[in-house]
Amino acid sequence: MTIGPGNIGDALPGGASEQRRVAAEWFQDADAGLGTLWTYFYSVGGDADEVTLDAYLHELADLPPLQANLLAITMREMDSEHHYWDHGEGQTP
């Protein structure tokens, strides 16, 4: 283990409101349902519930920095998993 301690405030460039705007834009463009997004967010350790995520993605509420960072990671990872969107029924992700 060579990784050191990090700063909680180490968010995306532009600060928290910019991060929220980027997330809202991503959600609008992506054809991902809130349920799918929340499941992935949960899988990376996110704690916020679906309603809170929904409010954040419509720029109506804030998320604690860690939750916002985990949501950003969720979006990045979903982008990299294109098969996530169109894989067939009955297969495990």
């Binding site: 283990m1 060579t2 990784i3 050191g4 301690p5 990090g6 700063n7 909680i8 180490d10 054809d31 991902a32 349902g33 349920g35 799918t36 499941t39 992935y40 949960y42 899988s43 990376v44 350790g45 920095p65 860690l66 960072n69 985990l70 990671i73 990872e77 990299s80 969107w85 169109d86 067939g88 029924e89 009955g90 297969q91 495990t92 992700p93």
Partner: protein, 271 residues
């Protein structure tokens, strides 16, 4: 499948049915629609996934809707939001015909699918619409086409494509029978799609819980090693993920491996 003697019990029925009945389980011989309902239910229960269901479904449609003088080839296409297109056919010919239409980008089946309606081409040689496609299907030996949209109550869009080698292969009663079949079939297709969706959601949740367990474990390890709080430990993980462009769950697996020495886990921290 029913035994041969079960048909004897059904002998009191007015019409002779070429299709199987479930008289063995049911003392009163069921009508044609009941029998079809049972068969479709079995298909839903026995198919492991949507693709297989659609194939069995197409085969059933072809056998139900073919008559002694008119052999019907059937294809079925389903469009699910976000999951793309699933298609199946009763035989190779049906598959080729559906693909042919997709390559043209338009035709009776795609029109039925788009407009949620029924499209009947009684004679491909005399049809004025879609001339290039009609030329092509004629060359494939198709004389008439019947495309019926399946009503899936907005869950998805689907169409049942019936091809006959004869011109005017679908009479008025044939069309009525096909519509009745489509109405029944749409319900079982909805069930099959809903089951598949639930199965898919369950698989996603199971995978999510597994991933989250690794990440929580790794966070605990970092908290112990760095004597820090949960948020700070998470931050260590997310930064490693960001900087190396490695998935968070893979970073977590690396952290766990570095402590437990489990060699089968990929050690992302040795690079």
């Amino acid at each position: 499948m029913n035994s041969p003697e079960s048909r004897e019990e059904g002998g009191s029925m007015a019409e002779t049915q070429p299709t199987e009945t479930h008289a063995a389980q049911n003392p009163t011989p069921p009508g044609r629609e009941d029998s079809l309902g049972y068969t479709l239910q079995d298909l839903v229960l026995e198919s492991p996934d949507v693709e297989e269901f659609l194939t069995d479904f197409a085969v059933l449609a072809a056998s139900e809707l073919s008559t002694a003088s008119n052999a019907v080839t059937c294809g079925v296409t389903v469009i699910r939001r976000k999951k793309g297109v699933a298609a199946a056919s009763s035989d190779e010919k049906g598959r080729a015909l559906d693909e042919l239409q997709n390559s043209f980008g338009d035709g009776p089946c795609l029109t039925a699918l788009r407009d949620k309606t029924m499209v009947h081409v009684p004679d491909t040689g005399a049809e004025a619409r879609w001339p290039a496609y009609m030329n092509a299907v004629s060359r494939h030996g198709i004389g008439s086409i019947l495309a019926i949209s399946l009503d899936l109550a907005g869950e998805a869009a689907a169409v049942l494509n019936l091809y006959s080698a004869r011109a005017h292969g679908f009479s008025g009663p044939d069309i009525t029978a096909a519509q009745a079949f489509a109405e029944h079939a749409a319900k079982s297709l909805r069930l099959a799609l809903r089951l598949a969706h639930l199965r898919h959601t369950r698989d996603d949740l199971a995978a999510a819980m597994q991933s989250r367990t690794s990440i929580d474990t790794a966070v605990g390890i970092i908290m112990a090693q760095n004597r820090c709080g949960r948020d700070a430990a998470f931050s260590v993980l997310t930064q490693a993920s960001n900087h190396r462009n490695v998935k968070l769950r893979d970073v977590a697996a690396g952290v766990i491996a570095s402590v437990s020495g489990e060699s089968e886990l990929p050690a992302y921290f040795d690079e």
